[in-house]
Subunit: 415 residues, 2 copies
């Protein structure tokens, strides 16, 4: 077996930790985390650092039209690459590991191979996908959606942030508007390692989650429509307060989550009110909610409940509404061969592993639509993520990175 | 009687209408109303127009340190003036008459006196108070609060808008940072005519409301405190979603209004959420509510109910809270002599009048704390205000302006 050559190879844990902590200095948050929104100055600084690291490890770096970065460690043959990817952007108040671990674990794997002079048949690429979070340019996984062909590059370029700045202009401003195509790129396999962002691995004292499917998520953005009026003299029966409609709906959506707990989740995340001034009843309130369940049939039931709640709450509040947008994801199938490969590799390395379903969307979801892909989870403390206190226990993290190293090696070397 | 000289004097209805319609062109809204926020370019344009009109009618114009404009029509003696005032600023989506009628009716009265060569013993001043609405710089009635001594000028100058621009800088920018003191100004009497902003006069088919007291209002701004977390994997029982706490509270506050309807009112008007992004449970949600009742004891009961709801809803939603600010107003007593004067004047002119309580705050509330003051209402269509469709029936409006003319004449001429 080809991999027998390198069975004792392990990553340099200290180096990977130092690299993660260097990343955490770029766009620091207020409470120990990171604020590194896509295409911000901090994102540029992190990208520059990442590119410098990759080039120092015998990689060739390519920037595509969506700004995604691919660092290629050459193979012995000119074959489609094996990729390791995730994202370096964060939420407004994000953690130090969400996405970042996946990219920098890829870098560490290449550094390890480079240190030991290991070359595989296929090239290995580390990918930083642009704007996975969608915190600045909605929706999330923007660049990966172009890779998969769900959208074209013009769609991505045309996205606007809350200040009306365009994705393309900001990409150009930070110097990452590349020329390579963002989609239609043949790859042999895609591996993504991500912190779980939930509490299951920690609770099970297990070091590796092998994602075998996704929770089905349903998202809905609704605008409630009322009438501006003076908050003093206007009689209650003449009030059509868009914020009251939104509030009743938000409460109902939360109840739907509890009705399907502990597996089901349902929450409102965002509310924009207009004119949003004291003294005036608001005429518009736009709410975004998302609901998820492991069973698509239950998610569908939750979706129906949300729409029933919409009818009832708007009637109670004497307001109108319009559905602005809705979306669904999670009907994802990861590659059977890669799943077996990772499971076997974990067994060979003596790393505890369990199959699980992903509750969050990731770039791997998009890639899986057009190429063999696998999503792996490592534990995170108390399941906290999208929060500056997001944390990992280092010694509980390295096992998954070593499994990733060997699974990638085996895949890249296979005949 | 001094007023006998002018018993047949009436305003020029057509001129007042034209003046109101000229105002409506300055800072036009999207739906037939006005967007003329305090200290905006539109406010400057309106002020310049108002000053030009006043100066063309034999008035001397003074700007004070808070930007309020006083146009003085001289008396035959150097006595404290009789004032007619209100405001020319509007809500974000305001109407054409709210505040504006009071100022431009004052101008029309001076024009009428000037046309007929009428001079009174006391000077008559028309006042445009800066930032009555508070739509750009909270709280409302900012300049009038300095006039009354509730706050000093530095407090007013330090107010910030949502973009962080200061009141003083913006006042200077539009050229209305005057040198005259904003408070401690002796006046003989203050009259304010305002549209009712409620449906009572219209329903009673009455042309003049004589305000004999205010509804007691209680306002509260509360920040709900949760924890940011991923909207996907985080189990319901670990969610501390500030927006859910806010939603439950907004719903409860609305219920309190209904419990005390039709006299009581209670609504949320404003909600600011952070980070307010899809995919992340928000950690902060700041809600402003206001509640009003004609009976201070009932307002107090509503206040207690709101605080009870705050305890209960935050417990249900697993979030914390902090009270950012609260306020009350409405314990207002208008001047008995002025009330009698207006009532008698309406009787003499054959104008239908009724005593009422004001449900909204007005500059007259502040002035009444330091000088004899009276607040008068004229009907508005369907009680709609703080809305671009706010409207009046002209022939139902002129009677109140003529009562104001004669009441001011009598007061200014009195021995």
């Amino acid at each position: 077996m080809a991999q027998a050559r390198h069975d004792n190879l392990r990553i340099d844990e200290q180096r990977l930790w130092s690299t993660l902590m260097r990343s955490a200095e770029i766009g620091p948050g207020n409470a120990g985390g990171i604020r590194r929104l896509a295409l911000s100055d901090a994102d540029k600084e992190m990208r520059d650092q990442f590119v410098a690291w990759c080039e120092a490890s015998s990689c060739t770096v390519t920037i595509d039209q969506g700004g995604s970065i691919r660092a290629r460690y050459p193979g012995t043959e000119d074959l489609p690459p094996v990729q390791i990817g995730s994202h370096l952007d964060t939420q407004v108040a994000g953690g130090r590991f969400d996405g970042i671990l996946g990219v920098l674990a890829g870098l560490e794997i290449i550094r390890t191979l480079s240190d030991h002079g290991v070359r595989t048949r296929r090239p290995i690429e580390v990918v930083n996908w642009t704007n996975e979070e969608g915190a600045r340019f909605a929706p999330p996984m923007g660049a990966a959606r172009v890779f998969s062909g769900e959208h074209n590059i013009n769609w991505l370029h045309g996205l606007l942030d809350d200040d009306g700045l365009s994705f393309k202009d900001e990409l150009e401003r930070i110097g990452y508007l590349g020329e390579a195509p963002a989609g239609n790129r043949p790859i042999d396999a895609y591996f993504e390692l991500h912190i779980e962002q939930g509490p299951e691995l920690e609770a099970a004292d297990t070091h590796l989650g092998i994602v075998v499917g996704g929770y089905t998520a349903y998202g809905l953005t609704v605008k409630f429509l009322g009438t501006t009026a003076h908050s003093g003299p206007t009689p209650m029966e003449r009030r059509s307060n868009a914020l009251v409609g939104a509030a009743k709906f938000i409460d109902a959506v939360n109840d739907i989550g509890w009705q399907h707990a502990p597996i089901g989740k349902s929450s409102a995340t965002r509310l924009v009110v207009w004119p949003n001034k004291p003294g005036i009843l608001p005429s518009e309130a736009e709410v975004s909610v998302d609901m998820r369940h492991i069973d698509p049939a239950v998610t569908e039931q939750m979706r129906i409940s949300a729409h029933q709640a919409l009818s009832e709450t708007t009637k109670q509040a004497q307001v109108g509404f319009e559905v602005v947008s809705d979306w669904t994801f999670g009907d994802v199938a990861f590659d059977a061969d890669l799943t077996t490969l990772v499971r076997d590799t974990a067994g060979d390395l003596g790393v505890s592993a369990m199959d699980m379903h992903s509750q969050a969307g990731h770039d791997a979801y998009c890639v899986s639509e057009v190429a063999p892909a696998i999503l792996l989870f490592s534990p995170c403390v108390k399941g906290i993520s999208h929060n500056e206190t997001e944390d990992v226990v280092p010694e509980d993290t390295w096992p998954s990175v070593n499994v990733l190293l060997h699974a990638v090696l085996r895949r890249a070397d296979r005949e």
